[in-house]
C-alpha cells in the first residue's frame, strides 16, 4: 500500500521552486572571492546572525545567534555588515535570468522564486529536469552563487524538492515518485503546516507528509479548514496555488522601525529618530500613491520593553506636516523621561489610494494644494539628489550621531569604496567585485 504512487499523472503541471543557498553570505562570497570556503556571516549591524555560509553552518553557527555566541563557537568567523544594495542587485538579476526561460516567474522573496515550466518541454526539446539544470547552471555561472531547485506538480511539492538536497541540489519529483519523497518527511516540514496543526494531526496518528496525503478527502474536509485542504491537494499532485507573476499591487500598512546604538535618553534625539521613520514611511506611501488614516507610534526601551499608541487621523494623509501633531501627541503619551530607548517605530495604517480622498468640512483646500506642491518638490529633489536631501527640522538631530556607534556601525565596503561620480547616496546599479587586479 505504501509503495503505491499518489497520482497516475506524470506532469499535469510543472512548477519549479528555486531557493538560493545561504543567500546573503553567498553574495558576499561572490563579490569577495577570498571568502569562498570560509565561515562567513552577515548581520553585524544587528548584532545577530542574519545569514551564515554553509561553512559557518557546518561549524554550528545558526541564524539568530548573537555575535558573542558565534565567536565562541567559531573563533575564525568572518562577520560582515549587511549590504542590502548588493543583495538586491543579485536578487533582481537572479529573477531576470529565470525569466529568460519562462515568463511566469513569481518573486516569492528576496532569495526564492517559483517558475511555471508547464509546456516548456516542447520548446527545449527535453525533460523538465534538463530545463531546471540549465536554469541552475546559468545562475551559478553568471552570478557566482549557488541555488537549490525542486521541480514537481505543485508549489508545495516543488518546495519540498528544493529543500531536499541543499546546497546546490536539483530534485525532480514526477507524479509517480511523490510518495517516495513524502514518506520520511515530518508533517511540520510541509509549507503551510505549522506546529499547532502538526500537533493536532498527531492526535490522529498523522506524523508524516505521506500519511497526511493518503488520508481520504472526507477526513480532511471534516477536520481541517480550507488552507489545509488546499495543501492536501497540492501534496497529492493537484496544483491549487498558481504561480503569481504580478508584483504587490498595494499595501495595507507601511511600517518603518529603526534601532540605534547606543540606546539614548535624549528626548530630542529619540524624537528625531521617530520623525525620520515617519518621513521615510511617508515617502514610501507617496511613492505608492497611498494615504494613511491611522498612525501607530512605538518606542522600545533598552530592556526591550515596548510601548505603543494607535491614533486615528481625522483625514487621510501622507504628508509629515499633517502628521507631526499626532506624532508628538503619541510620543508624549508613551515617552518616559530618564529611560533609555533603543528603537522607535512608525506605522502608517488604514492606507487608502490618494486619489480617493475627498475634502472634509474643515479642510483648507488652498493649504492642501500648497502642501501637495511642497512634497512633490521634495520627492523630485530626492529623486535627483538622494533621499533625505531635504528633511524636516525635527529629524535633523539624527545627523549628530551615526545610526550605530562602534562595531555595529560598520558599513558595507560598497558604501565606502566609491567610483568617481558616485556619492554616499547614489551609486551605480551594478555589484562590485572586490578583487585586487
Amino acid at each position: 500500500m505504501d509503495n503505491q504512487p499518489l497520482t497516475i499523472h506524470s506532469w499535469p503541471r510543472a512548477i519549479l521552486h528555486l531557493d538560493a543557498d545561504a543567500f546573503f553570505a553567498s553574495c558576499e562570497q561572490a563579490v569577495h572571492p577570498e571568502l569562498r570556503g570560509k565561515p562567513v556571516i552577515t548581520g553585524k549591524e544587528r548584532g545577530i546572525v542574519a545569514a551564515a555560509s554553509y561553512e559557518a553552518k557546518a561549524r554550528g553557527v545558526k541564524r539568530g545567534m548573537s555575535l558573542y555566541e558565534v565567536k565562541k563557537v567559531c573563533p575564525d568567523i568572518v562577520i560582515l555588515p549587511s549590504d542590502y544594495e548588493t543583495y538586491s542587485l543579485f536578487s533582481l538579476r537572479m529573477f531576470e535570468i529565470l525569466r529568460r526561460f519562462s515568463p511566469d516567474v513569481e518573486e516569492y522573496s528576496i532569495d526564492e522564486a517559483f517558475v511555471d515550466l508547464t509546456g516548456l518541454r516542447r520548446s527545449y526539446h527535453g525533460p523538465y529536469g534538463m530545463i531546471a539544470q540549465k536554469m541552475q547552471e546559468t545562475v551559478v555561472t553568471e552570478l557566482g552563487i549557488t541555488v537549490s531547485v525542486g521541480v514537481s506538480l505543485s508549489k508545495v511539492l516543488a518546495k519540498i524538492g528544493s529543500r531536499h538536497n541543499k546546497p546546490r541540489g536539483l530534485t525532480i519529483i514526477p507524479g509517480r515518485d511523490i510518495h517516495i519523497y513524502l514518506k520520511e518527511l515530518p508533517i511540520e516540514k510541509v509549507w503551510g503546516i505549522g506546529p499547532n496543526t502538526s500537533a493536532f494531526l498527531r492526535k490522529f496518528g498523522i506524523t508524516t507528509a505521506l500519511e497526511y496525503a493518503r488520508k481520504d478527502e472526507k477526513f480532511i474536509e471534516k477536520y481541517l479548514s480550507k488552507p489545509y485542504r488546499e495543501i492536501w491537494h497540492e501534496l497529492n499532485g493537484s496544483s491549487v496555488y498558481p504561480v503569481v507573476t504580478e508584483t504587490k499591487s498595494s499595501y495595507q500598512s507601511i511600517s518603518k522601525t529603526k534601532t540605534f546604538t547606543p540606546p539614548s535618553k535624549d528626548e530630542t534625539f529619540v524624537f528625531a529618530q521617530l520623525s525620520k521613520n515617519l518621513e521615510n514611511a511617508c515617502i514610501k506611501a507617496r511613492r505608492h500613491k497611498l494615504a494613511a488614516t491611522r498612525l501607530v507610534v512605538c518606542l522600545r526601551k533598552h530592556d526591550y520593553q515596548s510601548d505603543g499608541v494607535d491614533i486615528k487621523l481625522n483625514r487621510p494623509t501622507a504628508y509629515p506636516v499633517d502628521l507631526f501633531g499626532p506624532l508628538r501627541e503619541g510620543f508624549n503619551h508613551i515617552y518616559q523621561p530618564d529611560s533609555f530607548y533603543r528603537q522607535t517605530g512608525v506605522v502608517l495604517a488604514g492606507l487608502l489610494p490618494e486619489t480617493g480622498i475627498q475634502c472634509f468640512l474643515f479642510d483648507d483646500p488652498v493649504r492642501m494644494e500648497k502642501m501637495s506642491r511642497v512634497y512633490r518638490a521634495v520627492d523630485q529633489l530626492s529623486q535627483n539628489f538622494g533621499k533625505h536631501i531635504i528633511q524636516h527640522a525635527a529629524s535633523l538631530p539624527t545627523k549628530l550621531q551615526a545610526q550605530h556607534e562602534g562595531e555595529r556601525g560598520d558599513v558595507p565596503q560598497r558604501a565606502t569604496d566609491l567610483f568617481k561620480g558616485e556619492n554616499k547616496r547614489q551609486r551605480l546599479g551594478l555589484p562590485v567585485l572586490h578583487m585586487k587586479v
Binding site: P33, R93, E142, L143, D417, L430, L433, M435, V437
Partner: protein, 209 residues
C-alpha cells in the same frame, strides 16, 4: 509578377490621409472637452466631424475607443482617455502618434546598452595594479566584467592564479594557456593547474570630471 505601383502608392496615401483625419478629429474632441469641461454627446461628435449619419459617429467612436483616446464608464457613457492629457507642442505621444523627433530617436543606444551586453552578468571592478597599462587600463579605472561570456583567446580576463586574482590577456594555443600582461614590467604567466576565470573584461571606464 508585376505589382501595380500606383495602387500601392494610393494605398499608402489613403492610410496617411486617414491618420490625419483621425488626428484632427481627436484634436476637435479634445478641444471640446477642455472648453466645455465635459465630453461631447454623440450628436455633438457628429457635428464636430461633419457627419450626418449616427452610424458614422458610432464607427468613429469605436475607433477612438480602440486607440484609447476615449473610454466608457460603467453606464456606457463616454469618458476622456488620452485626450484628457495636455498636448505637447512637439507631438501627441499620449495620443499614440509618434512625434517626428522621437521617431528618429527610436533606435538609439544608451551608454548603458553600449557598454553592457548582459546586464544580469556584468560586474564592476576597480583596477589597482598597472599590469595592463599599455592596453590603456590604468590604476583607478573601472572595468566592466562579464561573467556570462565564455572567454576567448585575445580577451582580457580576470583570472585566479595561485590564489591571487589578476587581469591579463588570455592566450590559448591548443591545450596550453598563457596570461599575458600589457606592461614590460611584468612577465607572462603560464598557470600550472587549471585556470579559474572570473569573467571577461568588456569595457574600461575612466571619468575625468
Amino acid at each position: 509578377m508585376t505589382v501595380n505601383v500606383r495602387s500601392l502608392y494610393n494605398l499608402n496615401m489613403t492610410r496617411d490621409v486617414k491618420e490625419d483625419k483621425l488626428r484632427s478629429r481627436v484634436r476637435d474632441i479634445s478641444h471640446f472637452y477642455r472648453e466645455k469641461g465635459r465630453m461631447p454627446s454623440f450628436s455633438e461628435i457628429g457635428e464636430l466631424a461633419g457627419f450626418q449619419s449616427k452610424n458614422a459617429v458610432f464607427k468613429l467612436v469605436n475607433k477612438l475607443e480602440q486607440r484609447n483616446f476615449i473610454g466608457r464608464d460603467e453606464k456606457g457613457r463616454l469618458i476622456p482617455g488620452s485626450i484628457a492629457s495636455s498636448l505637447r507642442t512637439l507631438g501627441t505621444v499620449e495620443a499614440g502618434f509618434p512625434s517626428p523627433a522621437e521617431e528618429e530617436l527610436a533606435d538609439t543606444l544608451s551608454l548603458d546598452q553600449l557598454l553592457i551586453q548582459n546586464p544580469d552578468a556584468t560586474f564592476l571592478l576597480k583596477v589597482s595594479g598597472d599590469s595592463m597599462s599599455e592596453a590603456g587600463i590604468l590604476p583607478g579605472d573601472m572595468v566592466l566584467v562579464d561573467k556570462g561570456q565564455p572567454p576567448k583567446s585575445g580577451d582580457i580576463v580576470i583570472a585566479e592564479v595561485d590564489g591571487e586574482w589578476t587581469m591579463k590577456y588570455l592566450k590559448k594555443r591548443g591545450e596550453s594557456v598563457t596570461l599575458i600582461p600589457a606592461n614590460p614590467k611584468y612577465k607572462p604567466i603560464k598557470p600550472k593547474e587549471e585556470l579559474k576565470i572570473a569573467g571577461v573584461v568588456t569595457a574600461v571606464v575612466r571619468k575625468y570630471r
